[in-house]
Symmetry: C2
Subunit: 399 residues, 2 copies
Amino acid sequence: MPTISQRGEQMPSSPIRKLVPFAEAAKKKGVKVYHLNIGQPDIETPKPVLDAVRHSEFKILEYSHSAGFESYRRKLVTYYDRFNIAVNHNQIIVTTGGSEAIIFAFMACLDPGDEVIVPEPFYANYNGFAVEAEIKIKTITSSIETGFALPAMADFEKAITPRTKAIMICNPNNPTGYLYSKEEMEVLKQLCLKYNLFLFSDEAYREFCYTGEHFSAMNLEGMENNVILMDTISKRYSACGGRVGAFVTKNQQVLDAVMKFAQARLSPPTFAQIAGEAAVDLPADYFDGIKAEYLSRRDILVKMLNDIPGVFCPNPGGAFYAMARLPIDDSDKFCQWILESFSYEGQTVMMAPATGFYSTPGLGKNEVRLAYVLNTTDISHAMVCLEKALEVYPGKISK
Amino acid sequence: MPTISQRGEQMPSSPIRKLVPFAEAAKKKGVKVYHLNIGQPDIETPKPVLDAVRHSEFKILEYSHSAGFESYRRKLVTYYDRFNIAVNHNQIIVTTGGSEAIIFAFMACLDPGDEVIVPEPFYANYNGFAVEAEIKIKTITSSIETGFALPAMADFEKAITPRTKAIMICNPNNPTGYLYSKEEMEVLKQLCLKYNLFLFSDEAYREFCYTGEHFSAMNLEGMENNVILMDTISKRYSACGGRVGAFVTKNQQVLDAVMKFAQARLSPPTFAQIAGEAAVDLPADYFDGIKAEYLSRRDILVKMLNDIPGVFCPNPGGAFYAMARLPIDDSDKFCQWILESFSYEGQTVMMAPATGFYSTPGLGKNEVRLAYVLNTTDISHAMVCLEKALEVYPGKISK
């Protein structure tokens, strides 16, 4: 029998999906499980966005241009213009989700063995894409004590080697919710110019900023050839299943290379491009309501977390995630235990152990990520469960 | 300025898309261009397939399961059952087009430097996926003289090295239209069992067989752990823009590995899975009409080609492509010239130079691929153009 590749062996499992069987078992026992573990919002996809697909009238579901429909790319130009991001439609390549934008960046900018520096904790799937592209993710650690602010410039410089080709950030951040300031972005600019690096900027949560304005990497002056923006409609319009994202850069060499990868896979999905194009025409106040909703969720989540004895949760500035430090021995064990062996009034909570977001062994063992993708009532119930669970968890650690 | 990767440099351009600017220029001059260059059928997507999406009623465009909706996978089980392919829904991973199924196979079964043997001419995008996965495609040549039948077993054996991990076929074949016989499939089985190789079988055109029954690699007994089926709804239902395919195997190790790649990119597109699920319920006679249409197109194309002095086109057994040998010096030059410098009654033809489908230098220089994706009237007009063009082409070669 032929054997799978070493790459296939090394490919990491999703740290979140490992717990799915325990959640399913809990549900089978009749326990209600609050899913704070994944970034699948309960917000409805805007009706005009779905209607654009449902009212479409084409007769052949054809390939689009490999870079995406020109009409959609032109529409995206007007979208980015609202953030003073000045790009033309030839600087946008529509991708199959934000995921593909990340793979394209890794493939087109790094060779096997090359390194990208990422502040940890970071979005766990970057690891998988790194295995596919045979590149190395080198992390520098950001700390819950500072709310996961950008590590010092000196920390980056210590990590840079001759193989370093890029720095990668997610802003606002998944999993920490941290919103990078203009000053922090300027530090990244200095680093990239000094060491001739790409800056990969994953801005999937651009619209969801609560403590200040979003400062896009695309607006760093003098970085036109360094910055690559990875984008997606998934979170912005609660359209995760569409699988439409964007790869945006002003670097023509990179665009030319990425177009070859885009042509090999023929085209991004047609239906969701139609949805994405309609979404750009949503009324300007659409995000006001969504943001207000996420903000109230964040506020109740963070307050209730910090009210639990021994728990610390910095206030996230954006996205819809919070990282909390819990008085526990091991977040993997705890997140399994709370599904497997605990319930309060027939309810329990699913969370993501933070270990999956760090690459430094041992880090994240007393942290969990919570996605505030449920309504405030559900979040309150979930937090009561968490508090009760921490009272009886056998691996509780008291200072 | 940071530079792109060597991989980005090495990534091949689409051999077909290179001609697009010349086609666009011809159209600007007012010349009608018959597109026989790509596999984008003019057949309408079945209405019930599009209606399933248009009448869908969900409110949130959510991620599906990373392996695809369970309901869709269960439906696909009944689809495959019609071909006596006995699989369960856990042996199917829904992919983003057939393209992703190929990438998953390369990634999960081969390591960088490993080799896959492919009869040439072959689908040019395999080259791009090979660059992404850092693997090597080794070709053995099939000949227009035999209608592109499977090369002899000895030819395969000569190409096998310690790095060979797989043989890959497309059946019926793109670009040749060749339909592999049961006997030829048995030869591949012997090879794979003898040398412990995977058999990657791209069966995108399963429904379109004219000279015999399709024999799926999945029906090779004793090959359960060797065979990987790459599939797609693109051609089957004229749904190229959906970007939904399938990775199918009974090899559990491979399934486990591929699931990790599937989880990293979250999910395949939701809308097109709904379309694909509805498509399985099309009436049994749906393909009769489509096949009859393609058959009449094939017949007129092949007859008119062979009636042109100096042209030879073997009769393809399946898919909707034909390879023709022309009395020309260089198919790249000819395909550009016919767009750039020729028209007959205000019309011309776009074809794919066969050089892009061979990896052996020099092969395919007097061959072109024609996709019979237009109606018979258009095909007739196109063939008249081709005949007239060959009368005046400066690089004509007369035996």
